[in-house]
Amino acid sequence: MARANGTRVDGLLSFVRKHMENFKQYDRITRMSTILRRYFVMNAFDGALTIFGILIGSYVADVTDPVLVIKVGLAAAVAVGISGFSGAFFTEQAERKRELQEIEHALHRKLDKTHLQKAYYFASVITAVVDGFSPFIAALFILLPFFFYPLLESMQTAYYVSFGFSIVSFFLLGMFLGKVSRESMLATGAKLVLVGIACMLIILALT
């Protein structure tokens, strides 16, 4: 039994190792990790800001039903996620196809079912998955207090905690950008927080 489990674990490890190796190779060919990084921050911020806007709107409109906030928030998160997934998949695939065609032209041959074609397709799919999931996860994180509404004192507290979560997510995403650009992580974090605050002020001025 123990040996069977050990074999299973070994099998799983070699499966993961093989796929990690493939991932590294595909990354080297397509340089997808830089694109993934960019898309991750861009779309997570997109999702976070959308939900932040919805929350401010709900707060101003005095929505006191947490289920309603969750439903509206989730619907928006799903829409932003699907938009991110499909948008990234189709644009990336179009770009990759064009690049592949140029390589095919230079090679005087088709590249169907080759390493390069697989790498390019993989890059399109992974980019789309990151693009789809990042706004969804950011949105879900911000909506979290409403899922735990019974534990919080009032709906107002849930709103305030959610606003806090939004600011934290803006700051973390900004910090990530700072890490990428090797700038001050605090400064880039603060920049995205400022964008969030500007968004809030504009919404408040309009409503």
Partner: protein, 88 residues
Amino acid sequence: MAGIRRMVLDVLIPLQISTVELAQKLSKMKGIEAVDILIQETERRVESAKVTIEGDELDYEQIKSFLEGSSISIQGVDRVGAGKRNPG
């Protein structure tokens, strides 16, 4: 029948493919003892190169299918050596 001991292939390699990795992978194939990749020209999308492969009994079809699967274009076979001893 004595096997093929050496062949020189004229190939086009996409710039995205690492020649170091390609040489390593080729050298691990059955029957291959030595590999040499000489880049001759680098263009915007591809590199033209001469791939010299040595071994005891080289399987051209196997090598061709590996190279094609690795997105490489074989332009021609420039040189082939076969026999009971290594060709000079």
